[in-house]
Assembly symmetry: C2
Homo-oligomer: 286 residues x 2
Amino acid sequence: MRDFSRDHSALALNTATLGHNVDGFGAGWSAEQVIDGCAARGYGGVVFWRREIGANAAAIGQWARSAGLKIAGLCRSPFLVGPLSPRGREAVLDEFRSSIDMAAALTAPVLTIVVGGVEPGTKGMSESLKIVADRVSVACEYAARAGVKLALEPLNPVYGGDRSCLVTVRDAVDLCDTIGADNLGIAVDVYHVWWDTDLPAQLSRAGARRIYGFHLCDWLADTKDVLLDRGMMGDGVADIRGIRKTVENSGYDGVCEVEIFSKDNWWKRDPNEVLDVLVERFRSVC
Amino acid sequence: MRDFSRDHSALALNTATLGHNVDGFGAGWSAEQVIDGCAARGYGGVVFWRREIGANAAAIGQWARSAGLKIAGLCRSPFLVGPLSPRGREAVLDEFRSSIDMAAALTAPVLTIVVGGVEPGTKGMSESLKIVADRVSVACEYAARAGVKLALEPLNPVYGGDRSCLVTVRDAVDLCDTIGADNLGIAVDVYHVWWDTDLPAQLSRAGARRIYGFHLCDWLADTKDVLLDRGMMGDGVADIRGIRKTVENSGYDGVCEVEIFSKDNWWKRDPNEVLDVLVERFRSVC
Protein backbone atom coordinates (compact mmCIF):
# COMPACT_ATOMS: atom_id res chain seq x y z
CA MET A 1 0.00 0.00 0.00
CA ARG A 2 1.36 3.37 -0.99
CA ASP A 3 1.83 5.96 1.71
CA PHE A 4 -0.32 8.68 0.19
CA SER A 5 0.54 11.22 2.87
CA ARG A 6 4.12 11.42 1.63
CA ASP A 7 4.10 10.85 -2.07
CA HIS A 8 1.69 11.44 -4.89
CA SER A 9 2.99 9.02 -7.45
CA ALA A 10 -0.62 7.85 -7.79
CA LEU A 11 -1.48 11.21 -9.35
CA ALA A 12 -1.59 11.53 -13.12
CA LEU A 13 -2.42 14.47 -15.34
CA ASN A 14 -4.87 14.22 -18.16
CA THR A 15 -3.65 17.02 -20.38
CA ALA A 16 -7.20 18.28 -21.00
CA THR A 17 -6.84 19.87 -17.56
CA LEU A 18 -4.34 22.38 -18.92
CA GLY A 19 -6.62 23.74 -21.64
CA HIS A 20 -8.03 21.79 -24.41
CA ASN A 21 -10.30 23.86 -26.54
CA VAL A 22 -7.46 25.74 -28.19
CA ASP A 23 -4.46 24.69 -30.24
CA GLY A 24 -1.87 23.22 -27.94
CA PHE A 25 -1.94 23.42 -24.16
CA GLY A 26 -2.46 26.37 -21.89
CA ALA A 27 0.18 29.07 -22.32
CA GLY A 28 1.50 27.26 -25.39
CA TRP A 29 3.32 24.48 -23.54
CA SER A 30 4.66 21.62 -25.64
CA ALA A 31 4.08 17.95 -24.78
CA GLU A 32 7.66 17.84 -23.50
CA GLN A 33 7.06 20.81 -21.20
CA VAL A 34 3.94 19.11 -19.82
CA ILE A 35 5.95 15.95 -19.13
CA ASP A 36 8.72 17.91 -17.44
CA GLY A 37 6.25 19.92 -15.37
CA CYS A 38 4.59 16.75 -14.10
CA ALA A 39 7.85 14.91 -13.48
CA ALA A 40 9.31 17.83 -11.53
CA ARG A 41 6.35 17.73 -9.15
CA GLY A 42 6.41 14.00 -8.56
CA TYR A 43 3.39 13.04 -10.61
CA GLY A 44 3.25 9.36 -11.48
CA GLY A 45 1.78 9.62 -14.95
CA VAL A 46 0.35 11.59 -17.82
CA VAL A 47 -2.41 10.98 -20.35
CA PHE A 48 -2.36 12.80 -23.68
CA TRP A 49 -5.01 13.32 -26.31
CA ARG A 50 -4.44 12.14 -29.86
CA ARG A 51 -4.47 15.61 -31.35
CA GLU A 52 -1.52 16.54 -29.14
CA ILE A 53 0.58 13.62 -30.32
CA GLY A 54 0.33 13.65 -34.10
CA ALA A 55 3.31 11.84 -35.64
CA ASN A 56 5.46 12.18 -32.52
CA ALA A 57 4.13 9.27 -30.49
CA ALA A 58 7.39 7.33 -30.15
CA ALA A 59 9.45 10.41 -29.29
CA ILE A 60 6.96 11.65 -26.69
CA GLY A 61 6.77 8.20 -25.12
CA GLN A 62 10.55 8.13 -24.91
CA TRP A 63 10.67 11.62 -23.40
CA ALA A 64 8.23 10.56 -20.67
CA ARG A 65 10.16 7.41 -19.83
CA SER A 66 13.39 9.40 -19.61
CA ALA A 67 11.67 11.81 -17.23
CA GLY A 68 10.50 8.92 -15.06
CA LEU A 69 6.87 9.56 -15.89
CA LYS A 70 4.46 6.86 -16.93
CA ILE A 71 2.32 7.31 -20.01
CA ALA A 72 -0.83 6.08 -18.31
CA GLY A 73 -3.14 6.07 -21.29
CA LEU A 74 -4.30 7.77 -24.45
CA CYS A 75 -7.50 9.73 -25.07
CA ARG A 76 -9.36 8.45 -27.04
CA SER A 77 -11.09 6.36 -29.70
CA PRO A 78 -13.27 8.09 -32.27
CA PHE A 79 -16.98 8.12 -31.48
CA LEU A 80 -18.16 4.72 -32.71
CA VAL A 81 -21.82 5.58 -33.31
CA GLY A 82 -24.10 8.57 -33.15
CA PRO A 83 -24.32 11.97 -34.75
CA LEU A 84 -20.66 12.88 -34.14
CA SER A 85 -19.01 9.67 -35.35
CA PRO A 86 -17.12 9.23 -38.61
CA ARG A 87 -19.60 8.09 -41.25
CA GLY A 88 -19.83 4.35 -41.67
CA ARG A 89 -18.37 1.22 -40.11
CA GLU A 90 -15.13 1.14 -42.10
CA ALA A 91 -14.34 4.81 -41.42
CA VAL A 92 -14.91 4.24 -37.72
CA LEU A 93 -12.77 1.12 -37.64
CA ASP A 94 -9.97 2.80 -39.61
CA GLU A 95 -9.76 5.64 -37.12
CA PHE A 96 -10.12 3.23 -34.22
CA ARG A 97 -7.14 1.19 -35.51
CA SER A 98 -5.07 4.37 -35.96
CA SER A 99 -5.82 5.29 -32.36
CA ILE A 100 -4.66 1.88 -31.21
CA ASP A 101 -1.48 2.21 -33.28
CA MET A 102 -0.81 5.57 -31.68
CA ALA A 103 -1.27 4.16 -28.19
CA ALA A 104 1.16 1.36 -28.99
CA ALA A 105 3.75 3.76 -30.40
CA LEU A 106 3.40 5.98 -27.35
CA THR A 107 3.66 2.93 -25.07
CA ALA A 108 0.32 3.87 -23.55
CA PRO A 109 -1.07 0.69 -22.00
CA VAL A 110 -4.70 1.76 -22.40
CA LEU A 111 -6.80 3.57 -25.01
CA THR A 112 -10.00 5.10 -23.68
CA ILE A 113 -13.17 4.51 -25.67
CA VAL A 114 -15.95 7.08 -25.76
CA VAL A 115 -18.63 5.31 -27.72
CA GLY A 116 -20.72 8.13 -29.20
CA GLY A 117 -24.41 8.93 -28.93
CA VAL A 118 -27.63 7.56 -30.32
CA GLU A 119 -27.25 6.45 -33.92
CA PRO A 120 -29.30 8.68 -36.21
CA GLY A 121 -32.51 7.02 -37.29
CA THR A 122 -32.81 5.00 -34.08
CA LYS A 123 -34.40 5.69 -30.69
CA GLY A 124 -33.09 4.85 -27.23
CA MET A 125 -29.82 3.12 -26.43
CA SER A 126 -30.29 -0.49 -27.46
CA GLU A 127 -29.67 -0.32 -31.23
CA SER A 128 -26.67 1.94 -30.74
CA LEU A 129 -25.16 -0.32 -28.09
CA LYS A 130 -25.39 -3.26 -30.49
CA ILE A 131 -23.40 -1.34 -33.08
CA VAL A 132 -20.88 -0.38 -30.41
CA ALA A 133 -20.50 -4.02 -29.39
CA ASP A 134 -19.69 -5.02 -32.97
CA ARG A 135 -17.09 -2.30 -33.46
CA VAL A 136 -15.41 -2.69 -30.08
CA SER A 137 -15.24 -6.43 -30.60
CA VAL A 138 -13.33 -5.96 -33.86
CA ALA A 139 -11.03 -3.38 -32.27
CA CYS A 140 -10.26 -5.65 -29.31
CA GLU A 141 -8.66 -8.20 -31.59
CA TYR A 142 -6.56 -5.56 -33.30
CA ALA A 143 -5.59 -4.01 -29.95
CA ALA A 144 -4.62 -7.36 -28.49
CA ARG A 145 -2.10 -7.86 -31.28
CA ALA A 146 -0.73 -4.36 -30.53
CA GLY A 147 -0.52 -5.04 -26.79
CA VAL A 148 -3.05 -2.31 -25.98
CA LYS A 149 -5.97 -2.52 -23.60
CA LEU A 150 -9.27 -0.75 -24.33
CA ALA A 151 -11.23 1.03 -21.59
CA LEU A 152 -14.92 1.70 -22.12
CA GLU A 153 -15.77 4.96 -20.39
CA PRO A 154 -19.44 5.43 -19.53
CA LEU A 155 -20.32 9.12 -19.64
CA ASN A 156 -22.82 11.04 -17.56
CA PRO A 157 -26.36 10.45 -18.94
CA VAL A 158 -26.50 14.10 -19.95
CA TYR A 159 -24.29 13.11 -22.91
CA GLY A 160 -26.53 10.22 -23.89
CA GLY A 161 -27.86 11.85 -27.04
CA ASP A 162 -24.71 12.92 -28.82
CA ARG A 163 -21.57 11.63 -27.09
CA SER A 164 -22.25 8.34 -25.36
CA CYS A 165 -25.07 5.85 -25.50
CA LEU A 166 -23.08 4.12 -22.74
CA VAL A 167 -24.00 6.01 -19.57
CA THR A 168 -23.58 3.68 -16.61
CA VAL A 169 -20.85 1.47 -15.22
CA ARG A 170 -23.48 -1.26 -15.19
CA ASP A 171 -23.92 -1.02 -18.96
CA ALA A 172 -20.16 -0.86 -19.46
CA VAL A 173 -19.57 -4.04 -17.46
CA ASP A 174 -22.44 -5.68 -19.33
CA LEU A 175 -20.74 -4.75 -22.59
CA CYS A 176 -17.45 -6.23 -21.37
CA ASP A 177 -19.29 -9.42 -20.51
CA THR A 178 -20.98 -9.50 -23.91
CA ILE A 179 -17.75 -9.03 -25.83
CA GLY A 180 -15.65 -11.16 -23.50
CA ALA A 181 -12.21 -9.94 -24.60
CA ASP A 182 -9.29 -10.17 -22.15
CA ASN A 183 -8.09 -6.68 -23.07
CA LEU A 184 -11.42 -4.90 -22.60
CA GLY A 185 -12.28 -3.09 -19.38
CA ILE A 186 -13.74 0.16 -18.11
CA ALA A 187 -12.65 3.63 -17.06
CA VAL A 188 -14.41 5.22 -14.09
CA ASP A 189 -14.68 9.01 -14.07
CA VAL A 190 -15.99 10.87 -11.02
CA TYR A 191 -17.79 13.38 -13.25
CA HIS A 192 -19.74 10.65 -14.96
CA VAL A 193 -20.54 8.34 -12.05
CA TRP A 194 -20.69 10.49 -8.90
CA TRP A 195 -24.49 10.28 -8.76
CA ASP A 196 -24.74 6.50 -9.13
CA THR A 197 -25.68 4.72 -5.90
CA ASP A 198 -25.27 1.43 -7.75
CA LEU A 199 -21.55 2.09 -8.25
CA PRO A 200 -20.15 -0.12 -5.45
CA ALA A 201 -22.07 -3.16 -6.69
CA GLN A 202 -21.06 -2.58 -10.30
CA LEU A 203 -17.38 -1.99 -9.52
CA SER A 204 -17.40 -5.13 -7.48
CA ARG A 205 -18.75 -6.93 -10.56
CA ALA A 206 -16.03 -5.36 -12.70
CA GLY A 207 -13.20 -6.25 -10.33
CA ALA A 208 -9.52 -5.47 -10.63
CA ARG A 209 -9.13 -7.22 -13.96
CA ARG A 210 -11.62 -4.90 -15.64
CA ILE A 211 -10.97 -1.48 -14.10
CA TYR A 212 -8.37 0.13 -16.33
CA GLY A 213 -8.65 3.76 -15.33
CA PHE A 214 -9.91 6.15 -12.66
CA HIS A 215 -10.48 9.83 -13.44
CA LEU A 216 -10.77 12.67 -10.96
CA CYS A 217 -12.53 16.02 -11.02
CA ASP A 218 -15.61 17.32 -9.23
CA TRP A 219 -19.25 18.08 -10.06
CA LEU A 220 -20.10 21.69 -9.31
CA ALA A 221 -23.58 22.00 -7.77
CA ASP A 222 -24.27 25.06 -9.92
CA THR A 223 -22.44 23.89 -13.03
CA LYS A 224 -22.73 26.41 -15.84
CA ASP A 225 -21.86 24.12 -18.75
CA VAL A 226 -21.98 20.35 -18.63
CA LEU A 227 -19.16 20.03 -21.13
CA LEU A 228 -16.66 22.71 -20.10
CA ASP A 229 -17.37 23.62 -16.47
CA ARG A 230 -16.01 20.70 -14.50
CA GLY A 231 -14.84 21.43 -10.99
CA MET A 232 -11.50 21.04 -9.24
CA MET A 233 -11.52 18.29 -6.63
CA GLY A 234 -13.07 19.69 -3.47
CA ASP A 235 -15.05 22.48 -5.13
CA GLY A 236 -18.11 20.38 -5.91
CA VAL A 237 -20.51 17.85 -4.42
CA ALA A 238 -19.02 14.51 -5.44
CA ASP A 239 -17.88 12.17 -2.68
CA ILE A 240 -14.47 11.78 -4.30
CA ARG A 241 -12.81 10.08 -1.37
CA GLY A 242 -15.65 7.58 -1.12
CA ILE A 243 -15.57 6.82 -4.83
CA ARG A 244 -11.79 6.38 -4.80
CA LYS A 245 -12.10 4.00 -1.88
CA THR A 246 -14.74 2.01 -3.73
CA VAL A 247 -12.59 1.85 -6.87
CA GLU A 248 -9.50 0.76 -4.94
CA ASN A 249 -11.44 -1.70 -2.79
CA SER A 250 -12.49 -3.29 -6.06
CA GLY A 251 -8.84 -4.01 -6.75
CA TYR A 252 -7.76 -1.08 -8.90
CA ASP A 253 -4.18 -0.05 -8.16
CA GLY A 254 -3.42 2.26 -11.07
CA VAL A 255 -3.08 6.03 -11.17
CA CYS A 256 -5.75 8.64 -10.43
CA GLU A 257 -5.96 10.77 -13.54
CA VAL A 258 -7.19 14.32 -13.16
CA GLU A 259 -9.29 15.43 -16.11
CA ILE A 260 -10.90 18.86 -15.74
CA PHE A 261 -12.52 20.64 -18.66
CA SER A 262 -12.91 24.17 -17.36
CA LYS A 263 -13.00 26.82 -20.04
CA ASP A 264 -13.67 29.83 -17.87
CA ASN A 265 -11.63 28.95 -14.80
CA TRP A 266 -8.77 26.46 -14.75
CA TRP A 267 -7.98 26.70 -18.46
CA LYS A 268 -7.35 30.41 -18.00
CA ARG A 269 -4.64 29.86 -15.41
CA ASP A 270 -0.90 29.35 -15.72
CA PRO A 271 -0.21 25.61 -16.14
CA ASN A 272 2.32 25.82 -13.32
CA GLU A 273 -0.38 26.98 -10.94
CA VAL A 274 -2.79 24.28 -12.12
CA LEU A 275 -0.21 21.53 -11.66
CA ASP A 276 0.55 22.79 -8.14
CA VAL A 277 -3.12 22.97 -7.16
CA LEU A 278 -3.71 19.42 -8.43
CA VAL A 279 -1.04 18.11 -6.07
CA GLU A 280 -2.45 20.04 -3.13
CA ARG A 281 -6.04 18.96 -3.79
CA PHE A 282 -5.03 15.39 -4.48
CA ARG A 283 -3.40 15.25 -1.06
CA SER A 284 -6.10 17.11 0.86
CA VAL A 285 -9.32 16.06 -0.86
CA CYS A 286 -8.89 12.72 -2.61
CA MET B 1 -57.85 -1.38 -23.00
CA ARG B 2 -58.39 2.04 -24.50
CA ASP B 3 -58.53 2.36 -28.24
CA PHE B 4 -55.75 4.89 -28.67
CA SER B 5 -56.29 5.23 -32.40
CA ARG B 6 -59.63 6.92 -31.83
CA ASP B 7 -59.43 8.85 -28.60
CA HIS B 8 -56.76 10.58 -26.63
CA SER B 9 -58.34 10.70 -23.22
CA ALA B 10 -55.04 9.27 -21.94
CA LEU B 11 -53.37 12.56 -22.82
CA ALA B 12 -52.89 15.19 -20.14
CA LEU B 13 -51.30 18.60 -20.24
CA ASN B 14 -48.73 19.71 -17.73
CA THR B 15 -49.16 23.45 -17.91
CA ALA B 16 -45.38 24.03 -17.97
CA THR B 17 -45.68 23.09 -21.64
CA LEU B 18 -47.48 26.35 -22.39
CA GLY B 19 -44.76 28.60 -21.01
CA HIS B 20 -43.59 28.64 -17.53
CA ASN B 21 -40.80 31.09 -17.04
CA VAL B 22 -43.04 34.11 -17.17
CA ASP B 23 -46.05 35.26 -15.16
CA GLY B 24 -49.06 33.24 -16.21
CA PHE B 25 -49.21 30.98 -19.22
CA GLY B 26 -48.23 31.58 -22.80
CA ALA B 27 -50.20 34.41 -24.40
CA GLY B 28 -51.65 35.32 -21.01
CA TRP B 29 -54.15 32.46 -20.80
CA SER B 30 -55.90 31.97 -17.47
CA ALA B 31 -56.18 28.58 -15.74
CA GLU B 32 -59.79 28.44 -16.92
CA GLN B 33 -58.76 29.05 -20.53
CA VAL B 34 -56.20 26.26 -20.26
CA ILE B 35 -58.86 23.89 -18.93
CA ASP B 36 -61.27 24.85 -21.68
CA GLY B 37 -58.59 24.50 -24.36
CA CYS B 38 -57.75 20.99 -23.18
CA ALA B 39 -61.37 19.92 -22.73
CA ALA B 40 -62.33 21.15 -26.21
CA ARG B 41 -59.64 18.94 -27.74
CA GLY B 42 -60.54 15.81 -25.82
CA TYR B 43 -57.63 15.77 -23.38
CA GLY B 44 -58.21 13.57 -20.37
CA GLY B 45 -56.46 15.66 -17.76
CA VAL B 46 -54.42 18.64 -16.72
CA VAL B 47 -51.66 19.23 -14.16
CA PHE B 48 -51.06 22.70 -12.80
CA TRP B 49 -48.15 24.22 -10.89
CA ARG B 50 -48.68 25.73 -7.47
CA ARG B 51 -47.82 29.26 -8.54
CA GLU B 52 -50.66 29.14 -11.08
CA ILE B 53 -53.24 28.18 -8.46
CA GLY B 54 -52.69 30.55 -5.56
CA ALA B 55 -55.86 30.84 -3.46
CA ASN B 56 -58.14 29.54 -6.23
CA ALA B 57 -57.62 25.81 -5.82
CA ALA B 58 -61.22 24.84 -5.09
CA ALA B 59 -62.64 27.01 -7.88
CA ILE B 60 -60.16 25.74 -10.46
CA GLY B 61 -60.83 22.16 -9.45
CA GLN B 62 -64.54 22.77 -9.87
CA TRP B 63 -64.02 24.41 -13.26
CA ALA B 64 -62.08 21.39 -14.47
CA ARG B 65 -64.69 18.90 -13.25
CA SER B 66 -67.43 20.92 -14.94
CA ALA B 67 -65.47 20.82 -18.17
CA GLY B 68 -65.10 17.05 -17.89
CA LEU B 69 -61.34 17.30 -17.41
CA LYS B 70 -59.49 15.44 -14.68
CA ILE B 71 -57.06 17.31 -12.45
CA ALA B 72 -54.40 14.63 -12.73
CA GLY B 73 -51.90 16.03 -10.25
CA LEU B 74 -50.17 19.06 -8.85
CA CYS B 75 -46.59 20.23 -9.39
CA ARG B 76 -44.91 20.18 -6.89
CA SER B 77 -43.43 19.94 -3.39
CA PRO B 78 -40.74 22.40 -2.38
CA PHE B 79 -37.18 21.14 -2.72
CA LEU B 80 -36.66 19.17 0.49
CA VAL B 81 -32.87 19.41 0.69
CA GLY B 82 -30.03 21.01 -1.18
CA PRO B 83 -28.95 24.52 -2.09
CA LEU B 84 -32.37 25.57 -3.44
CA SER B 85 -34.58 24.32 -0.59
CA PRO B 86 -36.27 26.50 2.05
CA ARG B 87 -33.87 26.79 4.99
CA GLY B 88 -34.42 24.26 7.74
CA ARG B 89 -36.62 21.25 8.41
CA GLU B 90 -39.64 23.15 9.72
CA ALA B 91 -39.69 25.61 6.81
CA VAL B 92 -39.52 22.70 4.37
CA LEU B 93 -42.29 20.78 6.14
CA ASP B 94 -44.51 23.89 6.37
CA GLU B 95 -44.31 24.45 2.64
CA PHE B 96 -44.69 20.72 1.99
CA ARG B 97 -47.92 20.68 4.05
CA SER B 98 -49.24 23.75 2.21
CA SER B 99 -48.59 21.97 -1.09
CA ILE B 100 -50.54 18.95 0.12
CA ASP B 101 -53.39 21.19 1.26
CA MET B 102 -53.47 22.80 -2.16
CA ALA B 103 -53.57 19.42 -3.90
CA ALA B 104 -56.48 18.38 -1.70
CA ALA B 105 -58.39 21.60 -2.35
CA LEU B 106 -57.80 21.23 -6.08
CA THR B 107 -58.87 17.57 -5.90
CA ALA B 108 -55.54 16.59 -7.41
CA PRO B 109 -54.98 12.96 -6.45
CA VAL B 110 -51.19 13.24 -6.55
CA LEU B 111 -48.57 15.79 -5.54
CA THR B 112 -45.23 15.40 -7.30
CA ILE B 113 -42.10 15.56 -5.16
CA VAL B 114 -38.85 16.93 -6.51
CA VAL B 115 -36.46 16.31 -3.67
CA GLY B 116 -33.72 18.89 -4.18
CA GLY B 117 -29.98 18.53 -4.60
CA VAL B 118 -27.01 17.73 -2.42
CA GLU B 119 -27.35 19.29 1.03
CA PRO B 120 -24.69 21.97 1.51
CA GLY B 121 -21.82 20.75 3.64
CA THR B 122 -22.22 17.14 2.49
CA LYS B 123 -20.80 15.14 -0.42
CA GLY B 124 -22.51 12.58 -2.63
CA MET B 125 -26.12 11.48 -2.38
CA SER B 126 -26.36 9.38 0.75
CA GLU B 127 -26.63 12.03 3.48
CA SER B 128 -29.11 14.03 1.43
CA LEU B 129 -31.26 10.99 0.72
CA LYS B 130 -31.48 10.30 4.45
CA ILE B 131 -32.81 13.81 5.06
CA VAL B 132 -35.26 13.33 2.19
CA ALA B 133 -36.48 10.07 3.72
CA ASP B 134 -37.20 11.80 7.03
CA ARG B 135 -39.12 14.67 5.47
CA VAL B 136 -41.09 12.58 3.01
CA SER B 137 -42.04 10.18 5.77
CA VAL B 138 -43.54 13.01 7.83
CA ALA B 139 -45.34 14.39 4.77
CA CYS B 140 -46.80 10.99 3.89
CA GLU B 141 -48.73 10.90 7.15
CA TYR B 142 -50.09 14.38 6.60
CA ALA B 143 -50.96 13.61 2.97
CA ALA B 144 -52.74 10.39 3.93
CA ARG B 145 -55.08 12.35 6.19
CA ALA B 146 -55.73 14.74 3.29
CA GLY B 147 -56.37 11.89 0.84
CA VAL B 148 -53.39 12.86 -1.33
CA LYS B 149 -50.77 10.56 -2.81
CA LEU B 150 -47.12 11.64 -3.11
CA ALA B 151 -45.05 10.79 -6.19
CA LEU B 152 -41.26 10.85 -5.94
CA GLU B 153 -39.89 11.98 -9.29
CA PRO B 154 -36.29 11.00 -9.94
CA LEU B 155 -34.64 13.60 -12.15
CA ASN B 156 -31.95 13.17 -14.77
CA PRO B 157 -28.53 12.86 -13.07
CA VAL B 158 -27.54 16.18 -14.63
CA TYR B 159 -29.67 17.81 -11.91
CA GLY B 160 -28.03 15.81 -9.13
CA GLY B 161 -26.14 18.74 -7.66
CA ASP B 162 -28.85 21.34 -7.22
CA ARG B 163 -32.31 19.95 -7.97
CA SER B 164 -32.48 16.28 -7.14
CA CYS B 165 -30.24 13.92 -5.21
CA LEU B 166 -32.76 11.31 -6.38
CA VAL B 167 -31.71 10.48 -9.93
CA THR B 168 -32.85 6.96 -10.76
CA VAL B 169 -36.08 5.00 -10.61
CA ARG B 170 -34.10 2.42 -8.68
CA ASP B 171 -33.33 4.92 -5.93
CA ALA B 172 -36.91 6.14 -5.92
CA VAL B 173 -38.32 2.65 -5.47
CA ASP B 174 -35.73 2.01 -2.76
CA LEU B 175 -36.93 5.15 -1.01
CA CYS B 176 -40.54 3.97 -1.26
CA ASP B 177 -39.49 0.67 0.29
CA THR B 178 -37.60 2.43 3.07
CA ILE B 179 -40.50 4.70 3.98
CA GLY B 180 -43.17 2.08 3.39
CA ALA B 181 -46.18 4.40 3.18
CA ASP B 182 -49.25 3.28 1.24
CA ASN B 183 -49.64 6.71 -0.38
CA LEU B 184 -46.04 7.01 -1.62
CA GLY B 185 -45.08 6.11 -5.18
CA ILE B 186 -43.07 7.40 -8.12
CA ALA B 187 -43.48 9.53 -11.23
CA VAL B 188 -41.66 8.45 -14.38
CA ASP B 189 -40.60 11.18 -16.79
CA VAL B 190 -39.15 10.32 -20.20
CA TYR B 191 -36.70 13.23 -19.98
CA HIS B 192 -35.23 11.89 -16.78
CA VAL B 193 -35.18 8.14 -17.45
CA TRP B 194 -34.81 7.69 -21.22
CA TRP B 195 -31.15 6.62 -20.90
CA ASP B 196 -31.71 4.01 -18.19
CA THR B 197 -31.42 0.45 -19.44
CA ASP B 198 -32.37 -0.72 -15.94
CA LEU B 199 -35.81 0.87 -16.29
CA PRO B 200 -37.85 -2.25 -17.12
CA ALA B 201 -36.53 -4.11 -14.08
CA GLN B 202 -37.11 -1.17 -11.77
CA LEU B 203 -40.62 -0.45 -13.04
CA SER B 204 -41.45 -4.08 -12.59
CA ARG B 205 -40.28 -3.74 -8.95
CA ALA B 206 -42.42 -0.63 -8.55
CA GLY B 207 -45.54 -2.20 -10.01
CA ALA B 208 -48.94 -0.66 -10.56
CA ARG B 209 -49.45 0.27 -6.92
CA ARG B 210 -46.39 2.54 -6.92
CA ILE B 211 -46.42 4.22 -10.34
CA TYR B 212 -48.44 7.38 -9.86
CA GLY B 213 -47.47 9.37 -12.93
CA PHE B 214 -45.96 9.16 -16.41
CA HIS B 215 -44.57 12.27 -18.13
CA LEU B 216 -43.88 12.72 -21.82
CA CYS B 217 -41.44 14.86 -23.76
CA ASP B 218 -38.30 14.03 -25.74
CA TRP B 219 -34.54 14.34 -25.30
CA LEU B 220 -33.01 16.36 -28.12
CA ALA B 221 -29.67 14.88 -29.22
CA ASP B 222 -28.19 18.36 -29.49
CA THR B 223 -29.98 19.86 -26.49
CA LYS B 224 -28.95 23.48 -25.94
CA ASP B 225 -30.04 23.82 -22.31
CA VAL B 226 -30.73 20.92 -19.97
CA LEU B 227 -33.37 22.88 -18.08
CA LEU B 228 -35.31 24.72 -20.77
CA ASP B 229 -34.70 22.94 -24.07
CA ARG B 230 -36.79 19.80 -23.83
CA GLY B 231 -38.05 18.35 -27.08
CA MET B 232 -41.54 17.67 -28.40
CA MET B 233 -42.28 13.96 -28.64
CA GLY B 234 -40.73 12.64 -31.85
CA ASP B 235 -38.09 15.34 -32.20
CA GLY B 236 -35.48 13.64 -30.02
CA VAL B 237 -33.80 10.30 -29.38
CA ALA B 238 -35.87 8.81 -26.57
CA ASP B 239 -37.69 5.56 -27.27
CA ILE B 240 -40.96 7.03 -26.05
CA ARG B 241 -43.17 4.26 -27.35
CA GLY B 242 -40.96 1.64 -25.71
CA ILE B 243 -40.92 3.47 -22.39
CA ARG B 244 -44.68 3.91 -22.42
CA LYS B 245 -45.11 0.23 -23.13
CA THR B 246 -42.83 -0.63 -20.22
CA VAL B 247 -44.70 1.71 -17.88
CA GLU B 248 -48.10 0.33 -18.90
CA ASN B 249 -46.90 -3.27 -18.83
CA SER B 250 -45.93 -2.58 -15.22
CA GLY B 251 -49.60 -1.91 -14.54
CA TYR B 252 -49.87 1.87 -14.83
CA ASP B 253 -53.19 2.89 -16.34
CA GLY B 254 -53.22 6.64 -15.65
CA VAL B 255 -52.76 9.55 -18.01
CA CYS B 256 -49.66 10.46 -20.03
CA GLU B 257 -48.77 13.98 -18.98
CA VAL B 258 -46.86 16.10 -21.46
CA GLU B 259 -44.33 18.38 -19.73
CA ILE B 260 -42.08 20.32 -22.10
CA PHE B 261 -39.90 23.16 -20.86
CA SER B 262 -38.88 24.86 -24.08
CA LYS B 263 -38.01 28.50 -23.71
CA ASP B 264 -36.89 29.19 -27.25
CA ASN B 265 -39.31 27.02 -29.18
CA TRP B 266 -42.62 25.75 -27.85
CA TRP B 267 -43.04 28.47 -25.24
CA LYS B 268 -42.92 31.04 -28.01
CA ARG B 269 -45.88 29.57 -29.86
CA ASP B 270 -49.61 30.17 -29.58
CA PRO B 271 -51.06 27.83 -26.92
CA ASN B 272 -53.70 26.72 -29.41
CA GLU B 273 -50.98 25.49 -31.76
CA VAL B 274 -49.12 23.72 -28.94
CA LEU B 275 -52.27 21.95 -27.75
CA ASP B 276 -52.99 20.80 -31.30
CA VAL B 277 -49.46 19.53 -31.87
CA LEU B 278 -49.53 17.59 -28.60
CA VAL B 279 -52.58 15.68 -29.76
CA GLU B 280 -51.04 14.93 -33.14
CA ARG B 281 -47.72 13.80 -31.68
CA PHE B 282 -49.39 11.80 -28.94
CA ARG B 283 -51.29 9.87 -31.60
CA SER B 284 -48.41 9.45 -34.05
CA VAL B 285 -45.35 9.08 -31.81
CA CYS B 286 -46.36 7.81 -28.37
